[in-house]
Symmetry: C2
Subunit: 204 residues, 2 copies
């Protein structure tokens, strides 16, 4: 569908321009090299053990990264509209330790390491941008860690509901559970507890 891909390009460029205005030369370079792909729900974009150099930027839909640990999926992150993923393996020459799959039908902009290096070569400002984004992400990750350490599973669930209420409905519960670091049964009980509290509060 050409129209959604067109708007995809604009979304990507607008995203970058939040941080740094682009010259028209830079824009056309970006448009030239970016590749838009559509994935179906359940498709796996990156497999454990792969040496992929691809990076992803979600234009529509939802991706998810997860490890398999003792035969169980551990979801580490969800990526929705206007969020990007640069998997570890795309930067390290090592096999990926985790998977990325598609939670729902999605439109994704796919980049490669080669393209990235070309862009750094041609437009050194992009390397600055990447450093800044990477540092931003690091901060986000650090505060996420503190948050995780200082709150109970129930609090974490409530926080998720607040910061990203849609996610709970887009994503299967067992994926949310492992994302919160608990078992699906526990999440079920937590939800029940919350409902009961809400109910009795209602009766005050």
């Amino acid at each position: 569908m050409e129209t959604s891909k067109e708007s995809g390009k604009n979304a990507l460029i607008e995203y970058i321009e939040q941080y740094m205005p682009l010259t028209s030369e830079e824009k056309s370079s970006l448009e030239g090299l970016n590749l838009f792909r559509e994935y179906k729900k359940g498709e796996v974009l990156l497999k454990e053990g792969a040496y992929s150099k691809e990076t992803y930027f979600v234009l529509k839909g939802c991706l998810r990264s997860y490890y398999i640990h003792d035969a169980e999926e551990i979801t580490t992150e969800f990526y929705t509209e206007l969020e990007g993923v640069s998997p570890a393996c795309s930067q390290t020459d090592e096999a990926s330790e985790y998977f990325i799959d598609c939670v729902e039908d999605s439109l994704v902009s796919v980049g490669t390491q080669d393209m990235e290096e070309d862009m750094f070569q041609k437009f050194p400002r992009f390397e600055s941008l990447c450093r800044i984004l990477s540092e931003k992400l690091l901060l986000k990750q650090q505060t996420a860690m503190v948050n995780y350490k200082t709150s109970s599973p129930e609090q974490r669930y409530l926080q998720l509901m607040e910061t990203n209420p849609g996610l709970v409905h887009r994503v299967p519960q067992y994926q949310i559970a492992s994302y919160l670091g608990i078992k699906p049964e526990s999440l079920s009980r937590i939800r029940k507890r919350i409902m009961q509290k809400a109910f009795s509060a209602h009766h005050h």
Copy 2:
């Protein structure tokens, strides 16, 4: 003590050269701008609310970053020999959300944002290095998060003993406890449990 500061300079340069060989011009620039400071155990290098632009690189001793959350210290990281810290506030124009203090008497190389920008200006390769280090750190943080989610407090303590056995003796237990995301009492119990297991295994 001049001798320890001299060896400090070398340690810093050797550290950087792990990632990128330096020209003598780059080395002398680095030597020129780096500032070595000695801190006493318990000294606070960065306070919550401060707008510090300093970054630290530990040459000897041990630093520690921590939040104060509900009047309790939450230790987020320990930094020992040849590890660096770039606090969030040194990059964001915002007040620091956390503290950094000194776990034991330490020798630290202190940098500032201005110095950093000068260096990026003079030697653009430094910005590449910083991007790479920042991405490295991000990966480390991400795997730390997965590890944290997939293991119990007891397992986390055992992991810490394996990966960093010295730390447990250098640092007060209550700081280790909050680093592991538990209360000091629980850590005490965990240690006891582990001792008992080791003992009964001995008798097999």
